[in-house]
Symmetry: C2
Subunit: 358 residues, 2 copies
DNA sequence: GTCACATGATCAAGCGTTTTAGCAAACTTT
DNA sequence: AAAGTTTGCTAAAACGCTTGATCATGTGAC
């Protein structure tokens, strides 16, 4: 009899466990009815408010009903009444182009999660219109705030609609006062990169900088100078080359580099270093014996697997994402004057060896 | 006077444009009051329902009010009443580890967007518990469905909670009947890779396969066989090596490879090819003259910038994400029996040259 | 036996929308 | 001028949940 009812159209209320997929979601009210209590009671149990006085017996009945029906709260309804959403928006200009954006997302997500927030992401590929729509969407979902991130460290301007919400710039910055931002500490990174070489005894160190203007270009050079000067080595303009910051650039710089009579070279990024490896090899030179090399960025696929593995400095993308979220939520105080600078750790591998005493 | 009011605590109602940040969001009702109409009217105007009869004059008043107050609809409230949310969930096991996941996200996002959906992403780093929470979160947000993706093509099992919603497996698959899935077409990819070599006249072609079991391992080998057989070249077991699928593996395989007397080699992936480049170079051999090489994966940072740039086969991550969304929304029909296979395009660069006639 | 006070649970309003049914006024028809 | 039709708009319920106010009991103190 009962089984007849089951096999006919209407599923019995007693065995809803397996039919869940796609069915209308179970609501609080249904749970309340099943448990024979009011919706208020169910709500109190679900969120186990300690202020509420609910007997253990009732509590159990409710829990059982929830279990039986497979109830899931409706987050939309919750945020509607509570007034504040549990979303953080992340707009990125190039999720796809690089592994870096992934790290920012990852860091942001972990940190957001930790504070009970979900990440709403949008990837604009630099398209202004897409960007506007993405931000609009986030605003309509009443996000707690928006992280606006770029895949390489640069100045940016703040889209108007961004101002309708709390926001933090990640891996970019704006002149605009009051625009909170978090960026990598390029100067420290440049210093660290150079220090790897210095501490191995190298004194005459070339720097292959990028040709294209960027905070990284200035910062990494500045760090190089600082590190040298701290060691009492005068800065020599002649040891600074410039090339397009990719493999071809690094490769192309080889000739000039070899005329400099240096024992070590610090490259603007890992890709240049990769090109330089090829160039050096063509000259029959060995790394690190004939030339010590350090890169920048710690682009895993490259740096870790070059022969020999490349010593380099990490761009702290994960940390940028995480710090962005913290700043957004007001957990990290924004430093006065300028963006927060995140430390770039060094990663030492085998492309640098102690210089044999002359 | 007016300015006095402004500079004191209460912002004047006349100039709310600039004070927006953080303020309580403007609601439909406020717009209605400002425009002197009912909320119903405003709603009708906002969504410009064509069925509604609203005078142009009223319409304008409403639009002006919206403009003045900076009104944004509350998406939560909308989905609450409409019953269906505009979210698609994407859970990934490794957003950060590889650039690949980024492409899946990118493709999914573009496609979702196209159909008016926003992407809710969660990155689990393979942690089962995190994964459960992530899925729970998505279910609570009443997502339209969930994309469950892995960073490399593999079998997976379907987490229980996933079944509470529509879902599509992306870049992975499950034995389970009824689990829709979309994966790269490894066999076709393997065939294409081999064909690059064949069409340049190579007949004796080695394949360095991976040691670790995976659909890619079987599929890419299968494709290799098929391509050879289509050309009437008998498959020779001796030409298939195995190595760990990274740079070191490729490098290590050089010795054995050179004993095979082949003119071309197809590597399981680009990273092996990168290692092989190093190995070949140590033997003073040149690519593509002494040995033609093709890879697989089209890992940009590597393939495009090796010297010479590597011919390879693309893993269609972007397409996987997009196709996943389409399948979820029921726009692409799932093929009966097994996952949808996505085409892997070839990318020809300079690591293959026509074989000089013997 | 009355009063105060815990205890356990419910009522009902409200969050910001959408949408159907319906009302009043202004036009047409006859 | 009565009836019908259009036009322009609004009332109010509903979506699923939270929460402060309220109520009905039972318990102990006097």
């Amino acid at each position: 009899m009962d089984s007849q009812e089951n096999s006919s159209g209407t599923p019995s209320a007693a065995a809803p466990l397996q039919q869940s997929r796609r069915a209308q979601p179970v609501t609080l009210r249904q749970v309340a009815e099943a448990a024979g209590v009011s919706t208020a009671t169910v709500s109190l149990v679900v969120n186990n408010k300690k202020a509420a006085r609910i007997s253990d017996e009732t509590r159990k009945r409710v829990h059982d009903a929830i279990q039986d029906l497979g109830y899931r709260p409706n987050a939309m309804a919750q945020t509607l009444v509570s007034g504040s959403s549990r979303f953080i928006g992340l707009v990125a200009d190039a999720i796809a182009t690089t592994p870096f954006a992934g790290q920012i997302i990852h860091g942001a997500q972990d940190e957001a999660w930790k504070h009970g927030y979900a990440l709403l992401i949008a990837n604009t590929e630099g398209n202004r219109e897409l960007e506007r729509d993405a931000i609009a969407m986030m605003l309509e979902y009443k996000v707690r705030g928006i992280l606006y991130s770029t895949w390489f460290h640069r100045a940016t301007d703040v889209p108007d609609s961004l101002r309708e919400s709390d926001f933090v710039l990640v891996n970019c910055f704006a002149e605009e006062p009051g625009a909170r931002a978090v960026v990598p500490d390029e100067v420290q990174g440049g210093r660290s990169a150079t220090e790897i070489l210095l501490k191995h005894g190298h004194r005459r160190i070339a720097f292959i900088n990028a040709t294209i203007p960027a905070p990284a270009k200035d910062g990494r050079l500045q760090g190089y100078r600082e590190a040298l000067e701290a060691e009492g080595i005068p800065f020599d303009d002649g040891l600074v080359l410039e090339a397009y910051p990719d493999q071809e650039g690094g490769f192309g710089a080889t000739e000039v580099l070899l005329k400099l009579g240096v024992t070590a070279v610090y490259c603007y990024n890992d890709r240049m270093a990769m090109g330089l490896y090829d160039g050096l090899r063509e000259h029959g030179l060995s790394i690190p014996d004939d030339m010590a090399v350090v890169g920048f960025d710690n682009q895993e696929v490259i740096a870790a697997h070059l022969r020999p593995p490349l010593s380099t400095v990490s761009l702290p993308h994960y940390e940028l994402g995480a710090a962005g979220v913290r700043m957004l939520l007001g957990l990290d105080e924004a430093q006065d004057g300028g963006p927060d600078k995140i430390y770039c750790p060094t990663v030492e591998r085998d492309s640098v060896r102690a210089l044999a005493p002359a």
